[in-house]
C-alpha cells in the first residue's frame, strides 16, 4: 500500500521546498530579527517568539542560493529540532501538500555535495519538483559558516532513506 505524507511547502528563490508537516511548529509572518555579530553567515539572528528566543536560519544562505533581494520580507517557518525551536527564513509560504511515497526520488548525484545533506530528495509533483528538506541538517550550522556535510555518515543516511523509498 502506498504511503502518503504531508509537507508544509515554501519557496526559496523560485524553488519549491517542503518540510514534513509534523516537524513544523508554526508559520508566522516576518518578525523583527536581532542580528548576531560574528555569527556564521547562515544565522540571520535571533527572534522573540512569544518570550522564547529562537535562532533564525537564513535558508537561502544555508542552501547557497542567491541572497534574498532587499525589501523582500522573510516568512518564518518554525520547526522543532533536537535543540529546540528554530526559525527557517523563507521567501513565501506555499500550500500543505499530500504526496505519495511513490513519487519520491533521491537527489541526483550531480547535486552540489555541500547541500546534499539538507536535501533528502524530491517528490515529482505535477509540473514541478518538491525539494524535501532534512530539518536537523538544515538547522545545523557549521562553525565556519559553511554548510558542508561531506562526511560519509550523512551521505549513507540519505542512501538508506532512498532504499526505504524503493
Amino acid at each position: 500500500m502506498a504511503q502518503s505524507s504531508q509537507y508544509c511547502t515554501f519557496y526559496l528563490d523560485k524553488l519549491l521546498f517542503g518540510v514534513e508537516l509534523k516537524g513544523v511548529q508554526e508559520v508566522i509572518r516576518s518578525l523583527e530579527v536581532t542580528r548576531v555579530p560574528l555569527a556564521p553567515a547562515a544565522v540571520s539572528g535571533l527572534i522573540n517568539l512569544r518570550g522564547q528566543v529562537v535562532t533564525a536560519v537564513d535558508l537561502r544562505r544555508q542552501l547557497q542560493l542567491e541572497p534574498r533581494p532587499p525589501g523582500l520580507p522573510a516568512m518564518n517557518v518554525v520547526v522543532r529540532s533536537d535543540d529546540g525551536a528554530v526559525s527557517l527564513l523563507v521567501d513565501e509560504i506555499g500550500d500543505v501538500v499530500e504526496v505519495e511515497e511513490i513519487s519520491f526520488e533521491p537527489p541526483p548525484g550531480t547535486l552540489r555535495s555541500s547541500v546534499r545533506s539538507m536535501v533528502q530528495g524530491v517528490h515529482k509533483l505535477n509540473g514541478r519538483l518538491l525539494h524535501v528538506l532534512d530539518i536537523e541538517n538544515a538547522c545545523h550550522i557549521c562553525a565556519d559558516g559553511q554548510t558542508g556535510f561531506g562526511d560519509h555518515s550523512s551521505e549513507n543516511r540519505i542512501t538508506d532513506k532512498s532504499d526505504l523509498a524503493d
Binding site: E32, T34, R35, V36, P37, L38, A39, P40, V43, G45, L46, I47, N48, G51, Q52, V53, V54, T55, V57, D83, G84, V86, C139, H140, I141, A143
Partner: protein, 781 residues
C-alpha cells in the same frame, strides 16, 4: 498509584534518608552515647528494610537486615560504636546507595555479591555481649516506627509500668475504641494531666520529625517551568510599564504599579522555591572528611557555619564538586599528620571550618584549615619547574600572586600523588567551574598557620542585573559583575585623552593606562560614519584585568532574564546568552571574558606583565608609599621603597663565600652577590679597611635584603631591620652623601632613602644576571 510510582517514591525517600545516615553515623562516632541519633539511624535502616521487603528487593533487604541487627545491639548497649563498626555501617550505606541507583536505572537490583559486607556486619555483632538479638521490652519495638509513642512518654514521665501499658494495649486490641491514655486514666495508672502533657510532647516531637506534613514534593522540571513563566511575566511587566509611562492615565498607571509590585514579589517567591540551603551538600562533608582523614592517617574536626545559607538549585549543583575538591585538598594537603602538628605546637587534630554567608547579593563560602599553609618557595620552584612562569616573572610577584599560581592548569604541589588529590588536575578545574557560574575563587595562606579559600558566587543565574549599551544601532547587555565604572569623554576631551601606544588606543584612568576596545570594531559592525561627539567608556574587569569598552551609547541598568544561546551560535565566544528587552526585542549579553580574549586584553596564560606592576609603583609616587626601614650607621635610619624588595632573608655567616674579592652566597640555585651597607657608607679611606674586616663574631646571622634592580638581584647586608611603614615622604632634603637619594621624614623621623643604582656603583658589584649555580660549579671544577 502504579508500582513504578511507589518504587520512585521509595527511591527518593531512601536517598534522602541515606544522606542523613552518613551525617548521623559520623556524628555518632564522635558522640557514641547520643541515644536520639542512634534511634534515628535505627529507624532509617528499619524503614528501608521494611520497604525493600514489601517491594521485593531481597538483596537490599538482606544487607539492611544485618545492618539493622548490628544497630540493635548498639541500641541495646550490648556493643559500643567504634571506628570499625562505623566504617562497616558506612559501607553498608554505600552498598545500599549503589543498589538504589541500580534499581533506579534498571528497575531491579542486578547482580551483586554483598557476602563480604554481610559477613563483616555479622562478625561485628559477635562482640563481647551474649544472648540472641531480642528486642527487649515489647513496647519499645513498637516505638521504632513512630518518633515517640504515647506509652513510652508515659513510662518516662508519669511512672507507668510497662505491664500497665501492655494491658491497656491489649484492651485496645480486644476492641476497646478508647485511646490508650483514656484507658490508663480509667485504670488509675496515670493522672489526666500527665496524659495531656504526654500528648503535647508527642505532638512537638512529631512536628520536628523527618516527615513533616507542611511540605510536598514538586518536580524540578515543573519549578523550572514556573520560573520561565515568571521570567516572561517580568518581561510583560516591563512592557506594560513602558506603556504606562506613555499613556498618561492615572488608573492604568496605578494598576501597572500594582502589577509591578506583585511581579517583583512573585519573582522573589518563585526564586525561593528553587533555593536550597548549602547544608544539603555540606551534609556529606563530615563523611568525606572522615574518610579522607582516615585514609591518610590524620585527625580532623570539621566545623560548619551558616549551613542554612540558601542558593539556587542549579548553582548548588554546579559548586558541589569544586567544594568537595577543596575540602579534600584541605584534609589531604593542608592539615598535617598528628605528630607533625604536635611538633609545630598545635593540637593533634586539625580544624577545618566551612563558612557560608550572604553578602552584597552574593554568597560567600570560606573553607579554612589550620594546617601547614602554602609554601611560597615550593610553589615558586614548582611553577618554574613546570614552565608555567619564568623566573623573572616570579621574582616580581607578590606573595598573593604566587599563591594564585596554584590555580594554573598543570600545577600541583603535593609531594606525592595520593588517591585523594595531587594529580595536577585540581585547582584549575575548581577555578574554571566556579568562574563558569560567574563566581570567583581566592586563596589566602600563612605558612605554618593554615589556608583559607574564599569562593564567591551569585545567588542565581536566571535573572541578572546588567548594563544595557547601544552599539551600531543594536543593544547589548553587560553583566553587572564585570562592570567597574563608566567614563564619558566630551568631544574636545576625547581628542586628546585617548592616546595611542603604537596604534593601540589607551586612556589614562587615574594615571594608569587603560587599554581600550571599540565594541563596533570587535563585533565587526559597520562604523556609524560620523564619530559621535562624546566617547562612552565602560570600564570592565575580566580575569583580574581591566579594560575600557567604547560603545556608542550607555542606556540603563536592568534586571534581565538570561536565555541561553542555541547550538547554532555556540561557536560565537563573545556572547553568553540573550535576553528579551522591555520592547520585546532580543538583545545579546556580552561575554566580557570572551571579548577580552578576542581583543587580546587577556592572554590565555593569565600572566600579568611586569609593566603593569611598574605602573602601579609609579602611580604611588605622589601618594603614600610603603617603605622598609632599617638601621644605618651611627643610629641613623635608612629606607628603601618596599616595592624594590624581593625578600627578607637571614643567612648564617658560614654560608657566605668569597668570590673575586666579593661576598657572595648561594641562594635558590643562584649566586647572590652580597653588599654590606656598612662598607658602602664608609668614607673612601676607611672602605678598604672595612671591606677586609672580619665579620663581627656575635652576628651569627646576617640580615639580608634581597633586592631586584633591572632584573638582577643582589643582597644588601644590613645590621637591623626596623619596620615597614606607609608614608608620603614629602618633607625632603637633598642627600649629603653618596648612595643616598634624599633624606625625608618617614614615620616622623628623618630617614635616608637609599639610591640602589648608586650602591651598586659604589660597591663595584656588577649585579650580574643570575646564573644557575650548577653551571658555575662546573666552571669551578
Amino acid at each position: 498509584m502504579s508500582e513504578s510510582d511507589i518504587v520512585n517514591d521509595f527511591l527518593v525517600e531512601s536517598y534522602e534518608n541515606l544522606d542523613r545516615l552518613d551525617r548521623e553515623l559520623v556524628g555518632l562516632e564522635k558522640n557514641p552515647d547520643d541515644r536520639d541519633a542512634l534511634g534515628s539511624v535505627f529507624r532509617t535502616i528499619h524503614t528501608i528494610k521494611g520497604a525493600c521487603g514489601f517491594l521485593g528487593f531481597n538483596k537490599l533487604e538482606a544487607v539492611a537486615h544485618v545492618g539493622e541487627s548490628l544497630l540493635t545491639r548498639l541500641r541495646d548497649r550490648q556493643l559500643t560504636l567504634n571506628p570499625e563498626i562505623t566504617t562497616a555501617l558506612l559501607s553498608m550505606v554505600d552498598a545500599v546507595r549503589q543498589m538504589l541507583s541500580q534499581i533506579e536505572k534498571a528497575g531491579q537490583e542486578g547482580e551483586r555479591n554483598d557476602s563480604m559486607l554481610i559477613a563483616t556486619l555479622t562478625r561485628l555483632q559477635q562482640a563481647p555481649a551474649p544472648v540472641e538479638v531480642a528486642p527487649v521490652p515489647e513496647s519499645r519495638s513498637e516505638a521504632v516506627g513512630l518518633p515517640t509513642s504515647i506509652g513510652d512518654i508515659l513510662m518516662q514521665r508519669a511512672g507507668v509500668t510497662p505491664a500497665q501499658i501492655q494491658s491497656a494495649a491489649e484492651k485496645q486490641k480486644e476492641g476497646d475504641p478508647r485511646h490508650l491514655g483514656e484507658i490508663l486514666v480509667e485504670q488509675g495508672a496515670v493522672r489526666p494531666a500527665d496524659v495531656v502533657e504526654a500528648l503535647r510532647i508527642q505532638r512537638s516531637s512529631r512536628a520536628g520529625g523527618p516527615a513533616s506534613d507542611s511540605t510536598i514534593r514538586v518536580d524540578v522540571g515543573l519549578l523550572d517551568k514556573v520560573m520561565n513563566l515568571v521570567g516572561e511575566l517580568v518581561l510583560a511587566r516591563n512592557q506594560v510599564l513602558q506603556f504606562a509611562k506613555r499613556i498618561k492615565d492615572t488608573g492604568f498607571l496605578a494598576a501597572s504599579q500594582r502589577l509591578n509590585l506583585i511581579t517583583t514579589e512573585l519573582q522573589e517567591v518563585v526564586m525561593k522555591t528553587r533555593m536550597q540551603p548549602i547544608g544539603n551538600i555540606w551534609g556529606q562533608f563530615p563523611r568525606t572528611v572522615r574518610d579522607v582523614a582516615l585514609s591518610c592517617g590524620k585527625q580532623v574536626n570539621i566545623e560548619i557555619e551558616g549551613k542554612e545559607t540558601e542558593l539556587d538549585k542549579t548553582i548548588i549543583e554546579a559548586i558541589k564538586d569544586p567544594l568537595t575538591h577543596l575540602v579534600r585538598n584541605s584534609v589531604d594537603h593542608g592539615i598535617e599528620r598528628p605528630e607533625d602538628r604536635v611538633k609545630a605546637g598545635k593540637s593533634p587534630a586539625g580544624r577545618l571550618v566551612l563558612r557560608a554567608f550572604h553578602e552584597g547579593g552574593q554568597v560567600n563560602i570560606e573553607i579554612s584549615d589550620d594546617g601547614a599553609g602554602l609554601n611560597v618557595e615550593r610553589i615558586r620552584k614548582k611553577a618554574i619547574e613546570r614552565a608555567l612562569v619564568t623566573s623573572e616573572q616570579v621574582a616580581s610577584m607578590s606573595e598573593q600572586e604566587i599563591f594564585n599560581l596554584v590555580f594554573l592548569p598543570g600545577f600541583s604541589t603535593a609531594q606525592k600523588v595520593t588517591n585523594v588529590s595531587g594529580r595536577g588536575v585540581g585547582m584549575d578545574v575548581v577555578k574554571t567551574n566556579v568562574e563558569r557560574i560567574g563566581g570567583t575563587v581566592d586563596l589566602q595562606s600563612s605558612f605554618g598557620r593554615g589556608t583559607t579559600v574564599h569562593v564567591k558566587i551569585p545567588l542565581t543565574l536566571a535573572i541578572i542585573p546588567a548594563l544595557v549599551v547601544t552599539c551600531g544601532g543594536d543593544r547589548y547587555a553587560i553583566p553587572q559583575v564585570n562592570l567597574l565604572e563608566l567614563v564619558r569623554l566630551e568631544a574636545e576631551q576625547a581628542r586628546t585623552a585617548i592616546e595611542m601606544v603604537h596604534g593601540a588606543p589607551v586612556y589614562r584612568l587615574r594615571g594608569r593606562l587603560l587599554p581600550l576596545i571599540y565594541l563596533s570594531r570587535e563585533l565587526q559592525l559597520e562604523e556609524s560614519g560620523e564619530r559621535a561627539d562624546a566617547v562612552n567608556i565602560v570600564v570592565l574587569q575580566a580575569d583580574d584585568r581591566q579594560f575600557g569598552l567604547v560603545v556608542d551609547e550607555i542606556n540603563d541598568t536592568e534586571e534581565i532574564v538570561v536565555k541561553p544561546l542555541r547550538k547554532q551560535l555556540k561557536t560565537v565566544k563573545t556572547f553568553v546568552g540573550s535576553s528579551i528587552m522591555g520592547d520585546g526585542r532580543v538583545a545579546l549579553i556580552l561575554d566580557v571574558l570572551g571579548l577580552a580574549q578576542r581583543a587580546g586584553v587577556v592572554s590565555e596564560s593569565r600572566a600579568r606583565p611586569v609593566a603593569e606592576k611598574a605602573a602601579e609603583v609609579a602611580e604611588t609616587a605622589g601618594e603614600k608609599q610603603t617603605f622598609l626601614l632599617f638601621a644605618g650607621l651611627d643610629d641613623s635610619r635608612m629606607a628603601i621603597p618596599l616595592s624594590t624588595l624581593a625578600r627578607l632573608e637571614e643567612f648564617p655567616i658560614s654560608q657566605v663565600e668569597m668570590s673575586g674579592g666579593q661576598w657572595v652566597t648561594q641562594y635558590r640555585g643562584r649566586i647572590l652577590p652580597l653588599i654590606r651597607l656598612s662598607v658602602v657608607l664608609e668614607e673612601r679611606r676607611n672602605r678598604l679597611r672595612a671591606l677586609h674586616a672580619p665579620p663581627a663574631p656575635d652576628s651569627a646571622l646576617l640580615q639580608v635584603l634581597v633586592l631586584n634592580h633591572e632584573g638582577h638581584s643582589f643582597g644588601l647586608v644590613v645590621e637591623r631591620i626596623l619596620d615597614i611603614v606607609e608614608d608620603r615622604a614629602d618633607v625632603r632634603s637633598p642627600a649629603n652623601r653618596a648612595a643616598v637619594l634624599y633624606s625625608a621624614v618617614i614615620g616622623n623621623r628623618v630617614t635616608e632613602l637609599l639610591d640602589i643604582p648608586a650602591i651598586l656603583r659604589v660597591a663595584g658589584v656588577s649585579a650580574a644576571r643570575p646564573r644557575p649555580v650548577t653551571k658555575s660549579a662546573e666552571a669551578a671544577n
